[in-house]
């Protein structure tokens, strides 16, 4: 252990002083890398809001005197360029730039490729937005946790969205007959559909799947997919499309009269009404990847005040309402802050990244959308919010109809530690 800790220190750039009773707090700033899509289709709806939030929170934390008096030095990096580029970048960040922590990744593909590098290269990596449940799950349940000693996921995985959708559909449309799916052709899309389909089979056994389409990420022409879906005549179409794809799909579908016939159920559709604007169709089922919605007020006091401040502050700085990537960014940065402070208490000085990792495990802290808990499997769990899009005079884009918002508590939508989500769903009574 000691040996690895030394090498961790050496590789991870943490302080080498192991074993001393009292450890000094370095005067140097904390190096934090934030990796999001800064270019490409996912930049506007995801990367930029996420990165903005990282900047905003860093700024606030530094104004308050930093973490244990150390200022944060934030380096925003671009997630574009494909999985391979990300592997190389993460390596560089950990081994050469020696960042204290790598907060990032929106695409599940990036996460699947990068998180294993945490233990491999001995750097702390916190996945802040990507969704795939496979990231933290083992090959078969029960699996041993944590999967990665130094790899974390500070937001809940896609299980909550798709289970939430299934529960929501069961509640509002108990007697639909046909569903279809259009999901991007990689881990994110494939896994989202898998969970949704499994949950539907369990909750509404006699609903039949009439079509599943797999457009590639960054597809520009959905016309063929749209008419293929319309041809299959489902009642509801499940979709985990995100980023530019979601916007493009919606616009083209509008043009082809898609929404006149079919209702969409977006597993993470929350940012798009704001992106598309007033044209965005009403009565679509939209999930918020948690309870990340600017009109949602968390029950507990601390979170509620945070929410009020967060929405106002973000609106003030960037003229928009925070979308769920913003909340995810907040969670990642504050997970690190809280973990460091907790570990420092125990260690009496600046902690090693092993100690930070230990502190982050089982950590609970308030966030704008409610308290967040990071479990022993190094993955956070959250409640999930689902609703209908509805145009109101108050906003220039459809919001979630306040009267028909459903919140499913974490326990109802997250598999227990060490159990694969799919197995858990199948074990439902």
């Amino acid at each position: 252990m000691g040996a690895t800790a030394v090498s961790v220190g050496a590789l991870g750039g943490g302080t080498k002083a192991i074993g001393q009773a009292k450890r000094p707090i370095p005067a140097t700033p904390i190096k934090i890398a934030a990796v999001s899509f800064l270019t490409g289709a996912a930049a506007a709806p995801f990367g930029i809001p996420g990165d903005n939030t990282f900047k905003m929170c860093t700024d606030v934390i530094n104004k308050e005197g930093g973490i244990l008096g150390r200022k944060i030095e934030l380096a925003s990096k671009d997630e574009a360029g494909g999985v391979d580029a990300q592997v190389k970048l993460a390596r560089k960040l950990i081994l050469e730039d020696k960042v204290d922590v790598d907060l990032g990744y929106i695409s599940s593909a990036s996460c699947l490729a990068v998180l294993p590098l945490a233990d491999e290269s001995g750097g702390l990596i916190v996945a802040y937005d990507c969704g795939t449940h496979e990231l933290m799950e083992g090959p078969k349940s029960p699996f041993e946790v944590p999967k990665f000693k130094l790899g974390f996921k500070s937001s809940a995985h896609l299980g909550i969205d798709n289970i939430g959708l299934a529960l929501f559909i069961k509640k509002y449309y108990p007697n639909i007959k046909k569903v279809a799916g259009i999901n991007q052709d990689y881990a994110w899309g494939r896994d989202s559909w898998l969970i949704f389909e499994t949950a539907m089979k369990k909750l509404m056994p006699n609903v039949q799947v009439v079509k599943t389409l797999w457009p590639p990420l960054g597809n520009t022409d959905f016309t063929a997919h749209i008419s293929a879906l319309m041809g299959a005549e489902p009642d509801i179409v499940h979709s985990s499309l995100w980023g530019g794809d979601a916007v493009t799909f919606t616009k083209q579908a509008l043009g082809m009269g898609f929404f006149k016939k079919i209702r969409m159920a977006y597993s993470r559709g929350e940012p798009y009404p704001q992106e598309v604007g007033k044209d965005y169709p009403e009565e679509q089922i939209i999930c918020c990847a948690g309870t990340h919605y600017f009109l949602f007020t968390p029950p507990d006091k601390a979170s509620a005040t945070l929410q009020k401040w967060f929405v106002a502050e973000y609106r003030k700085r960037y003229g928009k309402y925070p979308s769920y990537p913003c909340y995810h960014a907040y969670q990642a940065l504050y997970a690190y802050k809280n973990a460091v402070e907790k570990a420092a208490k125990a260690a009496g000085g600046w902690p090693t990244i092993d100690e930070i990792a230990k502190a982050m495990t089982g950590l609970t802290f308030p966030s704008p959308s409610g308290p967040i808990t990071i479990r022993e499997d190094h993955s956070a769990i959250e409640d999930v919010l689902v609703g209908f899009s509805k145009m109101t005079p108050k906003y220039p884009f459809p919001i979630l109809d306040p009267k028909r918002m459903e919140i499913f508590p974490a326990a109802q939508v997250n598999a227990p530690v060490g159990m694969r989500t799919v197995d858990w769903i199948n074990s439902w009574k």
Binding site: G40, A43, L213, S227, M230, G231, T248, Q252, G255, M256
Partner: protein
């Protein structure tokens, strides 16, 4: 629905045809495979998107279609500069240099676009929304797609007439048939090549400008069209107008019906067809 599938196929084929047309002319006349063709397409797309965004608020709706012109012109200009500065030096060089140069140009232009327009996506669906939709046998279909088909049809008609009937076109054909002979006839190869390259680039730009109201202008937007246009040219036959048309229709319908019927293997199928045709008929369906 089959009507719609067919229309989708036609629409997709139309865009491809336009893109491949430019690639084809350049390849035919200059014997150069321009790997940067996709970037010219992208330039057209960004320019058009930018124009639409500018116009949408200030000028009457009908002006929105200035975007097509702007895309075509800018791509043409870039093409002109490219030919004068780079391609010009390549005529006497061997294949590997020609291909690598255009490959370099591709990398370069991708980032030039990034420098000019930034990394953001440009949403410019105004013309698409403006034209609205019609009823086709009980199915809603956007008029804009039909508009794209018309434009492409006209462009194709124009090129066909130009290549077959006008003096300039016939000279270009002469070059593509036999460079030496053409030189012997005293044709000004240099000028004509420049012209061909500009024409090809302009067509790529037009295609980009046409697509942009239906999808945001993005970095790398030209990559997929390049590959598909490339398949079209290969399948149809180098430098063959008829080939480009048939090839485009083949790809368009394979995609439209492929996605509707067997979504899992639509893409491999495309390359499989191309591969087979190349093996059986290396010069393409209508190649010389």
């Amino acid at each position: 629905m089959w009507v719609i599938y067919t229309l989708n196929g036609l629409y997709f084929a139309a865009l491809l045809f336009l893109t491949s047309l430019g690639l084809n002319i350049i390849l035919g006349v200059m014997g150069i495979l321009n790997l940067a063709h996709g970037s010219l397409y992208a330039i057209g797309a960004f320019m058009a998107a930018w124009t639409i965004i500018q116009v949408a608020t200030k000028a009457p709706a009908s002006f929105l279609f200035l975007s097509l012109l702007s895309g075509l012109v800018l791509a043409g200009v870039v093409g002109f500069l490219m030919e004068k500065s780079l391609i010009r030096a390549m005529y006497k060089r061997t294949l590997e240099y020609q291909l690598l140069l255009t490959f370099g140009a591709l990398l370069l232009l991708e980032d030039v676009i990034k420098m000019i327009w930034g990394g953001q996506a440009y949403y410019a669906s105004a013309p698409f929304d403006l034209l609205g939709a019609v009823d086709v046998f009980g199915n809603v279909y956007p008029i804009y797609f039909l508009f794209v088909m018309c434009i492409t049809f006209l462009a194709g008609l124009f090129i066909w007439f130009f290549m077959g009937r006008t003096k300039l076109g016939i000279m270009l054909r002469a070059i593509s048939l036999d460079r030496e002979m053409a030189t012997g006839l005293g044709l000004d190869i240099g000028r004509l090549s420049t012209f061909a390259f500009v024409l090809g680039s302009g067509l790529a730009g037009l295609a980009g400008a046409l697509v942009v109201p239906t999808t945001p202008a993005l970095l790398g937007i030209g990559m997929e069209p390049l590959i598909l246009a490339f398949i079209v040219v290969v399948v149809g036959g180098l430098g063959s107008l008829k080939g480009a048309l048939v090839g485009a229709l083949l790809v368009g319908f394979t995609r439209s019906f492929g996605i509707a019927i067997f979504p899992e293997i639509e893409l491999p199928l495309l390359f499989l067809i191309a591969g087979i045709i190349l093996v059986v008929k290396p010069q393409g369906l209508f190649g010389r």
